[in-house]
């Protein structure tokens, strides 16, 4: 046995241990959650539940407001994603191609929305919303979600646009395509992976948003995360587990679907200030 480890070398062993720790740290809680969600009775010292059951799934899914919240959340996330694309893609293109003064500061200012404590920012926005009658409206929620998504949706596509070389656009002009056709046929398709990644981020972050929604959307707009808070408070642990599985599912599905677009390059490129 010893010779085996020695042949591996110390570095390999350290790497292996780190990997194991990493897996336990990240996948452990998830696994625990999955088991909890399908357990009937599970008392402390046992490694596995004493009995399995889907009764809490039934309970959660039979709640009307739960189902409603799921469809509401998906509706909001879809609208937020579409609106962010419409607003941010042209901005991203402008940042990438047109060198106007202070463009770097504009990009940087998007970071600021993430630098302040969220709640403080939301409260000050809420004051404004109150004046304009946006409290407790669908539009209000969409806007408050977009405060968060503006950053990904501008930075990542902007770097994607920047990676399209001028010569590639120019040779399309040369071949006879007007500026609009060049954008549709050359620039946009080449930047598509970056835009896709940003859109997925946007969708997921909107699905997950609770603070702003809570503040702006009460009392009528209950999204998944908000329902979850109340359910966790009122019912046993297992409901919380069931709910988190439901909440995590879209994330996992989207990320798997997007795997072909998500390359480290695109992500790293998205966060450069140029």
């Amino acid at each position: 046995m010893n010779w085996y480890f020695r042949s591996l070398g110390a570095r390999r062993i350290v790497e292996f241990v780190l990997l194991v720790v990493f897996v336990i740290f990240f996948l452990g809680p998830l696994l625990n959650l999955l088991i909890l969600a399908v357990s009937g009775k599970w008392q402390y010292p046992a490694a596995l539940p004493q009995s399995w059951s889907l009764e809490w799934w039934q309970f959660v899914l039979s709640q009307d407001d739960v189902l409603e919240s799921i469809s509401l959340s998906f509706l909001i996330a879809t609208v937020v994603t579409v609106c962010s694309i419409i607003v941010c893609i042209p901005a991203a293109y402008a940042f990438a191609r047109i060198a106007f003064p202070l463009s770097r500061w504009f990009l940087f200012s998007f970071l600021l929305t993430h630098a302040f404590p969220k709640m403080g920012l939301y409260v000050s926005i809420a004051v404004l919303f109150y004046k304009f009658g946006l409290m407790n409206t669908f539009l209000g929620i969409v806007l408050i979600h977009m405060v968060n998504t503006l950053m990904f949706m501008t930075w990542i596509p902007s770097s994607a646009f920047r990676s399209v070389h001028r010569a590639q656009e120019e040779s399309a002009r040369d071949a006879g395509a007007g500026p609009l056709r060049v954008f549709w046929k050359i620039t946009l398709p080449m930047a598509f992976p970056g835009i896709m990644v940003a859109s997925i981020f946007t969708f997921l972050s909107s699905l997950d948003e609770a603070q702003g929604t809570l503040l702006v959307g009460i009392p009528d707009f209950k999204t998944m995360p908000i329902i979850m808070y109340s359910i966790i408070a009122d019912y046993p642990n297992t409901t919380g587990a069931v709910f988190s599985v439901i909440l995590t599912l879209p994330t996992v599905i989207l990320l798997v679907a997007a795997r072909r677009f998500v390359s480290a390059d695109v992500l790293a490129g998205g966060f450069q200030v140029k």
């Binding site: 590639q168 120019e170 040369d174 071949a175 006879g176 007007g178 056709r181 046929k185």
Partner: protein, 365 residues
């Protein structure tokens, strides 16, 4: 036959500058960037079927001229005519030009086939016709098997050939090439050069080629425009530019050359102990001047009127040898056949002579 014809046209073109028949005519083009760099007063006529090369050191404005022709830069003044019509007000997509850029020509999300068909589809050609032209173009650049591949799956040289094929497919009145081979290794570059020349003979297309490689320019051009600091320094055939450089800059930029400080008295030029007679064509006023002699025009000799020196180094480079000679305060390089080089060694005292030379007055250049 075609070659001969083109040569004829070239000569006619050279003879009648400003001829309205010119395929491409650049008149007093100027473009100065905010930084103060740019090109000034560029005038050039390119005849149908001619290959003209813009040659000059990095930053001399070659790309600026080419991009102005292609429509990617708006000149400050001057005019650009293609087949007699000004194209200055046309955007790139409306100009009868096609450009091969130095790099990043192809669209990585399209197959080679789609890359090539892009321009033809915009021109609303029939599908069958597009198919056929694309196949022909790929055959022309010897890439018949690559139609279904993506640009990322091709080597650098293959990509540049696809770019060339795409430009050829547009059947431009003038094909513009901006250092299209500079990213390739020496051997491939040579092959591509030959291929381009062959394609040009086959299609009779008018081409403006940009390079900073003088060897490349000498080997493929009908005429060369030597540029320096945004201006045309000399415009002539490769032979002429090599044999009769118009300025000290051209002499030292094109090929290798020995420059010797010398003194002119109006009729004779003295370099060290050797005195040469000026020929009638260029007369150098009395005063300091520079004598330029190609290494291959120097020879070892026993003549009395010659330069005395000692050999510093003999380097055998294949079928010839390069000999460095320290000669009356100058370092000279000369080429000798390999057999002769065997008898030479460093430290040896020799006499060097030459007949062919170009003289440049220090006052004028």
């Amino acid at each position: 036959m075609v070659q001969a014809q083109r040569k004829m046209q070239t000569q006619v073109g050279t003879a009648e500058q400003g001829d309205t028949e010119a395929q491409l005519s650049i008149r007093n083009l100027s473009k100065i960037f905010k930084t103060g760099d740019g090109v000034t007063d560029i005038s050039l006529d390119v005849q149908p079927g001619e290959m003209v090369t813009l040659l000059g050191p990095s930053g001399c404005g070659k790309t600026t001229v080419l991009r102005s022709i292609g429509g990617f830069l708006e000149p400050d003044s001057g005019d650009i005519l293609i087949r007699g019509r000004s194209v200055l007000n046309l955007p790139p997509e409306k100009r009868p030009t096609a450009m091969v850029f130095q790099s990043y020509n192809l669209w990585p999300h399209m197959t080679v086939q789609d890359n090539l068909a892009f321009g033809l589809k915009i021109r609303k050609r029939k599908k069958v016709e597009i198919e056929r032209s694309v196949t022909e173009a790929l055959e022309l650049v010897q890439l018949s098997g690559a139609a279904r591949k993506y640009p990322g799956e091709l080597s650098g040289g293959q990509q540049q050939r696809v770019a060339l094929a795409r430009a050829l497919l547009l059947q431009p009145d003038v094909l513009l090439l901006d250092e299209p081979f500079s990213a390739l290794d020496a051997k491939l570059r040579m092959e591509m050069r030959e291929e381009l020349r062959e394609i040009q003979t086959k299609t009779g297309m008018t081409m403006v080629f940009v390079t900073h490689d003088q060897e490349e320019a000498l080997s493929i051009s009908d005429r060369i425009v030597v540029m320096h600091a945004g201006k045309i320094e000399q415009l002539s055939t490769p032979q002429d530019i090599y044999d009769r450089p118009g300025s000290l800059f051209v002499a030292s930029f094109i090929g290798r050359i020995n420059l010797m400080r010398s003194i002119s008295d109006g009729q004779h030029i003295a370099v060290g102990s050797k005195v040469v007679q000026q020929d009638g064509s260029t007369s150098i006023p009395a005063g300091a001047c520079t004598l330029a002699v190609r290494p291959e025009d120097l020879y070892l000799t026993g003549e009395p009127d010659s330069l005395e020196g000692t050999i510093r180094q003999v380097m055998v480079l294949g079928h010839y040898a390069e000999v460095s000679i320290h000669c009356e305060q100058e370092h000279l390089k000369m080429f000798v056949p390999r057999e002769q080089a065997a008898e030479l060694h460093s430290g040896q005292a020799v006499k060097v002579g030459f007949h062919k030379f170009t003289a440049f007055s220090e006052v004028s250049s």
